[in-house]
Symmetry: C2
Subunit: 149 residues, 2 copies
């Protein structure tokens, strides 16, 4: 919904929400990431209404997060992540980690992530690119930046 547009705000979180903040959008992105790329497959997988799915896909394409590519001589299309979209998936990975930790309960995480580089089940770490130490909510100060006008 979101009758208020967030994109005007001088806040990268708000602006990002304008791109994937609408209901269903993160789950659509997850599906495309996971290889569910076609309209009917996404629709069936999520149980989303076709109308809303159309709107969300168009918006994500407009924003350059996914692209619509033909996969047949007939007019058939698949949605694929762009580089911009692939970086957004990192947000999904952090969300999944949080859900695994705080919401999964007894049953344990529904999905595991195996890291190509080491073959292990991944445990994501957020670190500072400068010093390599962990970065958490409490370990940063917020300062006005150049675009704070």
């Amino acid at each position: 919904m979101q009758r208020t547009r967030f994109g005007e705000m001088a806040c990268s979180i708000a602006r990002t929400l304008d791109v994937i903040g609408e209901p269903w959008s993160p789950l659509i992105l997850r599906d495309v990431w996971a290889g569910v790329r076609r309209f009917d497959h996404i629709q069936a997988d999520l149980g989303i209404s076709r109308k809303v799915l159309t709107e969300r896909l168009n918006h994500l394409v407009d924003q350059g997060v996914i692209e619509r590519l033909p996969y047949d001589a007939r007019p058939r299309y698949e949605y694929h992540l762009t580089a911009k979209g692939a970086e957004l998936v990192e947000m999904l990975m952090v969300m999944a980690r949080w859900g695994d930790r705080w919401l999964a309960g007894e049953a344990g995480p529904p999905v595991l992530y195996r890291h190509h580089a080491c073959g292990q089940i991944a445990h994501l770490d957020l670190r500072c690119g400068h010093c390599g130490e962990p970065m958490h909510a409490g370990s940063v100060d917020l300062l006005p930046g150049p675009g704070s006008a």
Copy 2:
């Protein structure tokens, strides 16, 4: 919104969306993180309707993401992050990073994050906790986990 509840799905991303996926919720969390902790301050800062703000705050408190604490002998309250909420802020940091990279434009990022440990402006890295190598959308395989039933 969101007449469809996501929490039933066997997906930690969907479950996390049930906690902070509603419109405004991430921005409320951001405000509380940034030190805007009182009803009227949040309301004024975001321009959100008081009704919706009430609903969102209650939901976030119910979910254990923030807590409502008195700050005066009079019935006055502030909202504070819990440990659960502080970990959610890591999702906000990743969102902010993405917005900084892809949406900030010429003006540059509106907010900078200074890392306590090293004093530098932070550049967040996502790394594998096992091997220490970077983790991106394309560098993991998704496997069914114990809670995949």
